[in-house]
Symmetry: C2
Subunit: 159 residues, 2 copies
DNA sequence: TTATCTGCAAACGCTTTGCATCGGA
DNA sequence: TCCGATGCAAAGCGTTTGCAGATAA
């Protein structure tokens, strides 16, 4: 996904009823251009690298605001710091058990398209598949170390 | 799922090459009998309610040990404290966006049984579906408060 | 007997919060 | 102009760690 145009970003904030501050602008631009799933800390470092000085508190405040407005989504598929992604089309996730990397899986790669919007007496509004296994990079690398810790997601790093 | 027999629990530890201490025994017994997905703190409180005095550090140590041995699994589908479950058969999860409750969904309730164990160049070893929506209890209750915060999972509690 | 486990307490990492100041609309 | 956003610093919560003493096998 490419970076959005300047007007597009301003407009998005307007529609959400949020002020378009330099900090928010930088955050959304970064997240929309970024194929990774950065943590709050990574977002802070990335946007402070180029221009305005954002504070940690502002990053957290705005991640909440943007989440509430539906402009970004928290990705909480493993433990550790929460990761974020700009809202793209419906997709799933893959987690490498060796290097901990988190990748997107396009919905069309998966043959599951439930028709029912119910499950027992529950109303289902969304679903998301999390695959676990070994990523492409790790498959073709010799296994230096063991897999990452299933709880902390730390302990390896061979990718 | 019912509580396991005493011998069964001792045996499980033996097979894993782990000592069967009173603390570990209580933890596994509790997790095997418990249909919830308790946090470390909840496990601590639950097992200290009945018998031996376990410490917080021991709970965390053992959750790692039991996870490494494949006897319990961390459930990290939302942010906040990590939740744990004893290893049962393959299943999925449902998260209520109103009360934050986490429920199991039996695999047979879901018509997705992928044949391939690959996804691009990746090796898939496991997958897990996370459904989001409104749980049975919340569906039939008037909506007192808004949904829980998507980041912190706090802010409601109507269930 | 001894490697392993426990418990305490301190430290750590991530996140939230209170409050004074600032600035976009 | 003024409500909402920012930044700082301190506190909060969940978790990890080091180490001395206890204990299952």
């Amino acid at each position: 996904m490419k970076a959005e145009g300047a007007d597009q970003i301003r407009q998005a904030f307007q529609q959400a009823g949020l002020r378009c501050t330099p900090q928010r602008y930088a955050m959304l631009q970064y997240l929309a251009a970024e194929p990774m799933h950065p943590t709050a800390e990574q977002i802070l470092r990335a946007i402070n690298r180029s221009d305005p000085r954002s504070s940690r508190a502002t990053i957290y405040n705005n991640l909440h605001a943007l989440t509430k407005a539906g402009m970004v989504s928290p990705v909480a598929v493993n433990s550790g710091p929460v990761r974020y992604e700009a809202n793209r089309r419906h997709h799933h996730h893959f987690i490498c058990e060796w290097c901990g990397e988190l990748e997107d899986i396009a919905a069309r790669e998966v043959a599951y398209h439930p028709r029912r919007s119910q499950l027992g007496g529950r109303v289902v509004e969304d679903f998301q598949i999390v695959f676990r296994g070994i990523c492409e990079k790790c498959v073709q690398k010799p296994r230096h170390r063991g897999p990452v810790c299933a709880v902390t997601q730390r302990g390896a790093g061979s990718c």
